[in-house]
């Protein structure tokens, strides 16, 4: 296998030919670059978990119900965003400072607004949020009932006239003999 094939197989031909390799030394340097640089340069050290599992447990319970403002569909507990890291660190220090859960939540709401809460409080501005779905359901149910009632009136049974009854009877009698 020659040089360019090797590179092609590695799938990074375009990028690496720009190194203009001409010697075995070059190849060694190239391979070192391929195998060593990515692993050291692109991986971050894992952030150590707090020493105290109790603090960690409380912090997790709190952050489960908090929204990460950067990645809005994730909770702060789940998010890997820098923002969430900072908030988690802040919550840890506040827990260590003996703040209650409520104080910590209030601290965050004061700074980021109710939007950080996945469980929004009942307020004049959130009434629509809380009761909107119920109101929609009631309106829907109401109009369904009205519609069904009206329809029943429209297709009320019409009684048959004398001649029609006789005709039906005749048809039924006619069929009896044939089917048995």
């Amino acid at each position: 296998m020659n040089f360019s094939q090797l590179l092609k197989n590695y799938g990074r031909y375009d990028l690496l030919t720009s190194y203009r390799l001409g010697s075995v030394k070059g190849l060694i340097i190239l391979l070192l670059l391929i195998f060593i640089v990515p692993s050291s340069a692109w991986s971050k050290e894992a952030i150590p978990v707090a020493e105290d599992p109790e603090i960690e447990k409380r912090m997790l319970a709190l952050t489960m119900d908090l929204r990460c403002l950067v990645c809005q569909n994730e909770s702060i507990a789940d998010s890997r965003a820098d923002f969430s890291n900072d908030i988690r660190r802040e919550i840890r220090t506040q827990i260590k400072a003996n703040k209650s859960d409520q104080e910590i939540i209030q601290f965050l709401v004061d700074r980021y607004g109710d939007f950080v809460l996945y469980n929004p409080p009942m307020k004049p501005t959130t009434i629509l949020l809380w009761f909107g779905p119920v109101a929609l359901f009631v309106v829907g149910l109401g109009s369904l009932v009205v519609y069904l009632r009206r329809r029943r009136e429209q297709i009320e049974e019409v009684s048959l006239s004398e001649t029609e009854l006789k005709k039906a009877e005749a048809l039924l009698n006619d069929n009896k003999g044939k089917n048995v």
Binding site: L69, V70, Q72, D86, E90, V109, R111, Y112, G113, D114
Partner: protein, 176 residues
């Protein structure tokens, strides 16, 4: 006739709501700090690290607090505007250098221009949390009494400066 008008009307209402929804930016979370006192900070200067600035130093004047970082790409977009605004002398701009390296931050200012009267350093973003910063850049308009009057989320634009920020500054400067 109403049989056909009611669904049509309902559709128009729904469409109107959805249309308005399209123009809203879900990333712009309204700050609860508007019309509240600006959180007090005491931070070291970027250029003279042994000097300390507190937010209370600015009581009595209208000022802008611009949260920036050399790693922030959008900051580069708004930067020429900030330099222009600073040169115009309308309002002093103070920089909050957010989670940055001092040396790269100073290089960045050398390269793109320095609009800041003073830049202070918030290395771990703790003051940022107090101000409800969740993305960079963000800009706060703070009045003479130290009250936050406006928060610009994301880069300032010609439009936001002309329509909102500068008229607000001029109005606030007129107040006692």
């Amino acid at each position: 006739m109403t049989r056909y008008l009611i669904p049509l009307f309902a559709f128009i209402v729904l469409a109107a709501f959805l249309l308005v929804g399209l123009t809203l930016n879900p990333r712009q979370v309204p700050s609860p700090l508007i019309d509240k006192p600006a959180p007090v900070f005491q931070l070291n200067h970027l250029h003279e690290p042994d000097k300390v600035m507190t937010s209370e130093d600015n009581l009595g004047k209208v000022w802008l607090l611009n949260v920036w970082a050399s790693w922030c790409v959008a900051c580069r977009d708004e930067h020429p505007l900030l330099v222009q605004l600073a040169n115009s002398g309308i309002v002093p701009i103070y920089g909050l250098n957010y989670k940055d390296e001092n040396t790269t931050a100073m290089q960045w200012l050398k390269r793109y221009g320095d609009p800041y009267t003073i830049s202070v350093v918030d290395p771990n973003g703790r003051v940022g949390i107090d101000y409800g910063v969740y993305g960079v850049p963000e800009t706060y308009v703070i009045d003479k009494k130290g009250i936050i009057r406006h928060k610009q989320i994301g880069p300032v634009t010609v439009d936001s400066l002309q329509k909102t920020i500068i008229p607000l500054i001029i109005e606030l400067q007129r107040q006692a």
